[in-house]
Amino acid sequence: MSTLASDYPGRYFDGRSTRAVEVRVRCDDTMLHLAGEVVASWPYAQLQISERIGRSQRRILLPGGAFIEVGDGPQWDGLAQTGGGHMGLLQRLEAHWQAVLVSAVATVLLCWAAYIWLLPLSVEWVSRWVPETWVSRLSSESLDLLDRVYTAPSTLPAARREALTATFASWRTPDGRPPPYRLHFRQGTRLGANALALLSGDIVITDELILKAKDDDEILGVLAHELGHVHARHALRQTVQGALLVVLANLMLGDAADMTGTVAGLLSLRYSRDFEREADDYAARMMRANGRDPAHLAHLLQRLEQGNGGGLDYFRTHPLTEERAHRLGATP
């Protein structure tokens, strides 16, 4: 350690009262000396220096609870190395702008990697451990909620409903099994032309959607799409992933708790679009397996879009219709 010839202003506190005593602090090779109203000396081995944080004040902790407040400066880091304190990895990381830049880039990359790979994996893993009773309770609750708030009983003729149910029951999934599902017909009212897949495999389709369809194959295409959601347990994965995202966002952004909801919501949009693509692919495979053209589904999607008009594309839960239609092999 180099000899520190000059002395520095400081304030001495006895650790029992807030009385401030102005002192001068002087360091030589072996001892720290106080001059002024308090005159004393201590060997460095008996002292501790508080860690550097930014450029904030430092504290030299004296034996017996007393301490000296001093301004920040490199001279104390030298002392800290000889005394009990240390100039740790943190201070070195924070002190160099290159390290800060690397940290920033690493943080962004790690967040991105976690979002792309780690989160879907953990969602997959957690979903497998969710008890069946929980799943069935949640889905019966969501069907109740639908009926209370969003939908009304279907007004389609019973014969029409039975015919659709029978046709779809005669279809086979891409791996050749009868489709496992329960079909519910509802009047959409606030949902409009829509179809939903619940956690348990219940599929809800609205009268409005059925009336918009030109032929039954279009409707069956939609049902196959929803079955794709059921098959991949998308509703459950969405629930689990929503919870995980909120927890993660809270951990990362501890400083801005009120923003985590929004951030988690925005982050889940991408997954929701991935789910739609997955379900579309499943529907296409299923339609081909049953000798139907997947373009039927695409046509219905395009017709629905015309009814809706544009919107803020980035914030959509579904991929763009043209993109979906293209994947399903429809001619524009």
Partner: protein, 356 residues
Amino acid sequence: MNDVVFAPAVTATPAQQEHQFEFTGQGGEYFRIWIVNLLLTIVTLGLYSAWAKVRREQYFHRNTLLDGSGFEYHGQPWSILKGRIIVVAAILVYNLLGGLSPVLGVAGMIVLLVATPWIICQAIRFRAANTSWRGVHLSFTGTVGGVARVYLLNGLLVLVTLGLAGPWWLNRFQTYLFSNLRFGGQQFAAYPSLKAYYRACFAFLLFMVLGVVAIGVVAVGGVSGASTAAGRGAAAMLMATMVFGFYIGMYFFAGSYLRARLGNALWNDTRVGPHAFVSDLRARRLFVILLTNALGIVCTLGLFLPVAKVRMARYRAATLSLLAAGSLDDFVAEQEQQVRALGEQAAELLDVDLGF
């Protein structure tokens, strides 16, 4: 409701001296600390967050100066980690119970509700006990029963009156928390005016209602004014964007107003021993800071967050001062109480931080 508390009027006598709080942190400086904290938290899958919290709190405490001396944070990372593990475990158990049966779910919710006063009490105790200035610690003398009364019991009245008692509830709650702080043998005393709370909350509601009405009038007028269907569509899109922007603006403005008024009402009627606080938050200035902070955070995908936090701390410190009656040298640490607090620590797991 007995909200009138007579306090000696604060008048500047020659013996009084105003000490301005000061925040000396810098946005760029805190950015470095924040990004390193964040990186280590991610790399350790969240475990480092306890150490990160200590470093963050130390930065903000040490850079907050009163009469030239910084505050100090003494929280230990292991205590914070313990608290976080308890909270995460509780959330997991609660969710699992709810999944197993609705009855257990409701039971879990009741347990959580009953535990809230304890959690609040514990969080404030930990924070107060681990904050010091010039070597003397703060302490919180409130009890779980006391917090349960002002938080839960009074909360029932808010439910019964459909929210009308809301400002009263907040007033009583904050009065309780602030009046139970101690610093070096001196008790805090808070007696914020109930009228000020009602006035601030009423004005906040009025702002929001007027804002929504104005939006409605402009939107309906604009859309129906367009002649063609296409024009109506375009007008509707434009309106939707404008309404969104306007609403955000209203929200920030009314929020800033509420925050400034309530903050001033509370601090201007708080004393510690013979010394009084003076708070001079301005709604307009707060609005500008909050809005630019939000814009900065959104535009930089969150990287502006540390700068935003420093700007806020700077403004808060610059608008708060201590009107000292005499010298600030006379706060004396209470040795006996320290010992007693340590005894309680063992009994009540005091060294667990439940505040996030």
